[in-house]
């Protein structure tokens, strides 16, 4: 399983992404990624409505990675010759049926993986109306996490996507998993 993470990114890239990034996610990486996507979709004649949805989802997906990118295991850093101690990836692909697919990947600790899985499954079980109500409750709860997140990112992505999240937790070692999240914009 270990070698498959970079391989997975390479496989996603082979699908000719509109934009992709592998490595540390900085504020500059996010700005460049968003600018590239906005320009590419606009040049391709995509509707402003679709561009806005893809853009909104990417903002949340990239900033989730930015705030929560955990340090990869030492053996991963060594095996892949990484110079940074952070690793995530993000790709945006347009599939043949016209659906846009955002895929992100990052390491998470086992305990985080468990709560993330529960959260995603909970959101996947809600209707658009239920997501809207949950969004309003969380918006008004005055809570910010220590990393500055408002707990709304996943709810917003689910609302904007209108599709269920796809996800996988690839076991990496006894402490962590590699989390792959897939968000579709139809």
């Amino acid at each position: 399983m270990k070698a498959s993470i970079h391989g997975l990114f390479e496989k996603l890239k082979a699908g000719k992404p509109i934009c992709s990034h592998e490595g540390v996610i900085t504020s500059e990486v996010i700005t460049d990624f968003l600018n590239n996507v906005e320009k590419s979709l606009s040049d391709a004649g995509e509707s402003p409505k679709k561009i806005r949805k893809v853009y909104n989802i990417l903002v949340e997906a990239l900033q989730n990675l930015y705030h929560h990118q955990a340090k990869p295991p030492a053996e991963f850093i060594k095996e892949n010759g990484l110079s940074d101690d952070k690793y995530s990836f993000c790709t945006l692909i347009k599939e043949n049926n016209g659906i846009y697919k955002v895929t992100t990947g990052n390491f998470v600790k086992n305990l985080t993986a468990k709560s993330l899985k529960e959260r995603i499954e909970q959101l996947n079980s809600l209707s658009q109306e239920e997501l809207k109500n949950l969004y309003k409750i969380v918006l008004d709860n005055d809570e910010f996490s220590e990393k500055g997140g408002g707990g709304l990112g996943f709810i917003e992505m689910a609302r904007k996507s209108g599709n269920k999240f796809g996800y996988e937790f690839e076991p990496y070692n006894d402490k962590c998993k590699f989390f792959v999240l897939e968000i579709l914009v139809s």
Binding site: R52, N56, V59, K136, F144, G148, G150, K160
Partner: protein, 127 residues
């Protein structure tokens, strides 16, 4: 009291908070990684504004994009304005601008409207 004027960047909105005219504007994109850092001075300004505000306070919100951490900070701004009204300091009107085909932005405005007790005008703009 001093006004606040901040020029917009690709990730932060143009800000114009004018204590003399009572016009408060947030325009552009609000997608910073650290929204609290950006909005804290604005929320603090509104606390001071509560002592001098009078008449009508016009609030113009014209956002193209905003991220979810900004959405909480924008609610904080609105709550300060709601307080202003509750204390009978001023009459607050929020003008929420959205492009004509941007139903998501209209819905975002309606989400705020349902949480707050201040009047919202939904203003559609031709693209």
């Amino acid at each position: 009291m001093d006004s606040i004027n901040i020029e917009g960047t690709p990730k932060t909105p143009t800000i114009s908070f004018d204590a003399n005219t009572g016009v408060i504007e947030i325009k552009g994109r609000s997608i910073p990684e650290n929204s609290i850092e950006f909005y804290k001075p604005l929320v603090d300004w509104l606390d001071k504004f509560a002592d001098v505000a009078q008449g009508v306070v016009n609030v113009n919100i014209q956002l193209e994009y905003f991220n979810t951490s900004s959405s909480k900070c924008i609610l904080d701004v609105f709550k300060k304005l709601e307080n202003l009204q509750n204390k009978n300091r001023a009459e607050v009107v929020i003008n929420w601008y959205y492009e004509e085909d941007d139903e998501d932005m209209l819905e975002a405005g309606e989400d705020y409207q349902s949480i707050l007790k201040i009047p919202f005008n939904m203003v559609e703009m031709a693209e």
